[in-house]
Amino acid sequence: MKLLRVGRWITAVGLLALAGVYVRAFAFTPIERFQGEAQKIYYVHVPSAVTAMIAMGLVGLAGILYLLLKDPRFDRFGEASAEVGTIFSLVMLTTGPMWAKPIWGTWWTWDARLTLTLFLFLLFIGYLVLRGAVTDPGLRARYSAVLGICGIPLLAFIHLSVYLFRTLHPQPIVLKPSAPSLPGSMLITLLLGFGVFFVLYVGFVIQRYALGYLREQLEASGGEVGHA
């Protein structure tokens, strides 16, 4: 199927680019003075976190569009974006503590941003669990849309909380009102990281979307499909 192949190619490109970023981060980006090499975790942690949040935002948007226009393609996209978002959240949640341990001395703290990103992950899980629990496709699409839509204001509250309540988590140094305060070379590595995760997101979502489409075709023609 054409879409599937396109998705696979994009993913392949993304994975190659990821390797490239790895090389750049290890060998061609300076080591941060106070944190040592662990600071470089930043270059995968932040892009995956941001992509995960955007993935959730898109799930919500797809939900709104589905409810307004009743087009099942939006539901299929939401399902794809949610699964990919879960994967990126997993990366975010595992790399975060890896950074935290050497820098703050603890794997986890219950500071605002950490806690709330934990349940970005839980939100994704809830979305996938909900989809698993509803068999009727129309109902499933509607329920998923509702959950996805509710997720967006939750994310907004997350972001607000971080700004309003000063916590241990590093204050934003790139996306903030004044200019980014990251040295040039590091900024480039970070931006490359964003690029790579974006490409991977697109590749994965296209594949997952195609998968959803193929599965629907199979179910429609009466075939037996296991739920993966």
Binding site: Y22, F34, G36, E37, I87, V91, M98, P102, V225
Partner: protein, 37 residues
């Protein structure tokens, strides 16, 4: 490495490895699931 910079390389390696593992595992998962259909 210059004086006084903490030796935290191990964590970096671990994090990068985990990231690669998760992303590759998902790639494989998508591939295998599409083959099943």
């Amino acid at each position: 490495m210059p004086e006084g910079v903490p030796a935290t390389g191990g964590y970096m390696i671990a994090a990068y490895v985990i990231t690669a593992v998760v992303l590759l595992a998902y790639t494989i998962s998508l591939y295998r699931r599409s083959k099943k259909l």
